[in-house]
């Protein structure tokens, strides 16, 4: 019997603290099972520069907070079969969106102009620092999302439940105790 093609898995890190990725690594020995079934084709913990084509499943951590995130999100959607909002920031905006009650320019001025350090050029895209969006939004407000894994971070059991369902080609169904935000 010919060996079944491995699933092409990607994880993406947008506006978040990488806690979801840490929790992902906490899958521990289950990572070995995962590696047998899937190839990690793009991830902050893998060395790939560009988001590859024909990805089967992409887990997206973090909210959409700047122009780069927006662009990457669109690329992810175009090149993945299934996109999963991975963790509270991607699902709700969470901590990343706490800045939404403030004006972006005020925020930048306070942090960079009034505080110590070099002076950047505000929120205008200057090609070096990606411009901030006026408001941080959850992933599904920018691209269609297929499944949601809440949690800050989602604990490894939650991640495993979701990922193993995806590997088996089934829809993600989290039990009630795995659906809590926070």
């Amino acid at each position: 019997m010919a060996k079944k093609d491995k699933i092409r898995l990607a994880t993406v890190w947008l506006g978040g603290c990488s806690g979801c990725h840490m929790s992902f690594l906490d899958l521990d020995e289950r990572l070995i099972d995962l590696a047998e079934q899937a190839d990690l084709v793009f991830s902050p913990i893998a060395d790939a520069k560009a988001f590859p084509p024909d990805v089967d499943v992409t887990l997206v951590e973090g909210a959409v907070a700047n122009i780069d995130h927006l662009e990457l999100a669109k690329q992810v959607r175009a090149q993945s079969k299934i996109v999963v909002s991975f963790g509270d920031c991607a699902v709700t905006g969470n901590v990343t969106s706490l800045r939404n009650r403030l004006d972006v320019d005020d925020l930048l001025n306070r942090v960079y102009q009034e505080g110590p350090g070099r002076t950047p050029t505000g929120s205008d895209p200057d090609g070096i620092v990606p411009a901030l969006l006026r408001r941080v939004v959850p992933l599904h407000q920018v691209i269609p999302v297929d499944a949601y894994i809440p949690g800050c971070p989602p604990d490894p059991d939650r991640i495993w439940t979701a990922v193993s369902a995806l590997l088996a080609g089934e829809p993600v169904r989290l039990e009630e105790e795995m659906r809590y935000f926070g």
Partner: protein, 252 residues
């Protein structure tokens, strides 16, 4: 008191006339979510979580404010009702800044639990992110408007049980807010007796004890029914029962 017979989810049920539909539904072991209802307080009918279908009624009825009647045919968990409950929760989550991860009530919050139970896994509406303040002028308690869902349990407990009526709702529509006295700092309120009942009945992290950090605020959900019914039931020692949403084995 006469007995009435009604049908709930295709099963016959009996109840005393004058009972609320919510009470009867819960007596029969059927889980139905609520946010503004609290045993021991007057009903408000504002959160719309306990809406049920009653045959022959044009509109959906809030079970908490509907009296049982002979021959009533009630459905508590149709697809339509589930969907509306999820949408209501989405609206609540979008209204203010409910960031569970950094909330004092994380893990003990009624809103968070109800959302998980009802399967509200993401919010399709715009998060409004209003710029709301926090009042920590009271020596023992804090009020965080960001977490408030305007269930008015605090207003009712302050008026109906404590009798101080320190709290009320100001403004209207999306600008409604809980106020102390003349919209003044809680600490400067002369009517507040610092009894802390409002803190115990608040379903979310809007009212909390000062000094607690993320996930540390645990409320005594059955506190109110204990103090209001204690004399009747001769229960003088508070034992502490787990909150309703965590105890009921859910039959839908």
């Amino acid at each position: 008191m006469s007995v009435v017979t009604l049908t709930i989810n295709d099963e016959l049920a009996s109840a005393n006339s004058g009972q609320s539909l919510l009470e009867v539904i819960r007596e029969h072991g059927i889980y139905i979510p609520t946010l503004c209802h609290m045993d021991g307080l007057s009903e408000r009918g504002g959160c719309r979580m306990c809406l049920v279908e009653v045959q022959g009624m044009r509109t959906l009825q809030a079970a908490c404010v509907t009296e049982v009647a002979e021959g009533m045919v009630v459905t508590t968990h149709s697809e339509r009702l589930r969907k509306y409950r999820r949408m209501t929760l989405e609206l609540i989550f979008a209204e203010r800044n409910h960031v569970c991860a950094v909330c004092v009530m994380n893990g003990h919050c009624e809103l968070q639990a109800v959302a998980a139970i009802e399967g509200m896994d993401h919010v399709r509406f715009d998060y409004l992110h209003p710029d709301l303040s926090m009042d920590i002028s009271h020596p023992r308690f804090g009020l965080d408007h960001n977490r408030c869902i305007l269930c008015t349990r605090c207003v009712r407990v302050c008026d109906e049980v404590e009798g101080a009526h320190t709290k009320d709702v100001m403004g209207r529509g999306i600008n409604c807010r809980i106020v102390n006295d003349l919209n003044q700092a809680w600490g400067s309120s002369q009517s507040c007796t610092s009894c802390g009942k409002c803190v115990q009945v608040c379903p979310t992290g809007a009212l909390f004890h000062k000094g607690v950090s993320v996930a540390e605020m645990v409320k005594r959900h059955d506190f109110l029914s204990w103090i209001t019914l204690g004399r009747e039931k001769n229960e003088w020692n508070y034992t502490g029962q787990p909150p309703y949403y965590a105890t009921e084995r859910r039959k839908e």
